[in-house]
Symmetry: C2
């Protein structure tokens, strides 16, 4: 059985969700584009999941628990399940962002404490 | 207590890790740039974590369990913990990619089955 799934996506599509596309079991990941002046039309929180947002391009605004912040490319933020959030594009610019949804508290080891070195080599090493 | 953490990162840095920067509890997320001709110098697998890679820019190569594939911007792939993997930039182009590490099998509900609608409104709605 193959240990990978692969797809190619269009970063400019209004929304692409990877969970079903790649058969993810530990995350939902979505690519999102909001045109200038457009907001997600509601505020939401989560029961169990933390969300990590990464602003890839453009500018926008974040509502979080009554506070309002400006967003620009390179901004990355984590919101705990309880956080009440809403994202909007700026009035004059679209915003392109990634949203990663994972179960809060689910990660144990990672990188050096979960990685296993292999003796295998690709043709280029 | 605030329900969010925020940082701004440089997408062109050779590597930026978000776990400690944002206090993530369900994922490690890294931004990576490999210059043209440069490879991660080893093959690795994981004990418990699935990895999702997203090629943001450039081109490269993926070694996975003895198979070798070409990579280009927009390619997204999931590798199960057991998969033996290695990523390289192309000979003539750098590769910029995101790697998301999560515990395999940890996600239960998501989006519609984990989201909670709020009656709150940002000033722009």
């Amino acid at each position: 059985m193959s240990h990978y799934t692969l797809s190619n996506i269009d970063f400019q599509a209004s929304r692409t969700e990877l969970h079903d596309l790649l058969g993810l079991t530990g995350a939902e990941i979505s690519f999102n584009v909001l045109p200038a002046g457009v907001s997600v039309p509601f505020v939401h929180a989560h029961a169990h999941n933390e969300e990590i947002y990464i602003v890839l391009e453009g500018a926008g605004k974040l509502y979080i628990d009554g506070e309002e912040l400006s967003l620009k490319a390179g901004d990355c933020f984590r919101i705990a399940p309880e956080g009440e959030r809403c994202i909007s594009a700026a009035e004059d610019k679209p915003i392109r962002f990634l949203c990663i949804q994972v179960r809060a508290g689910s990660l144990e080891g990672f990188t050096m404490t979960d990685g296993i070195m292999s003796e295998k080599k690709p043709s280029w090493l």
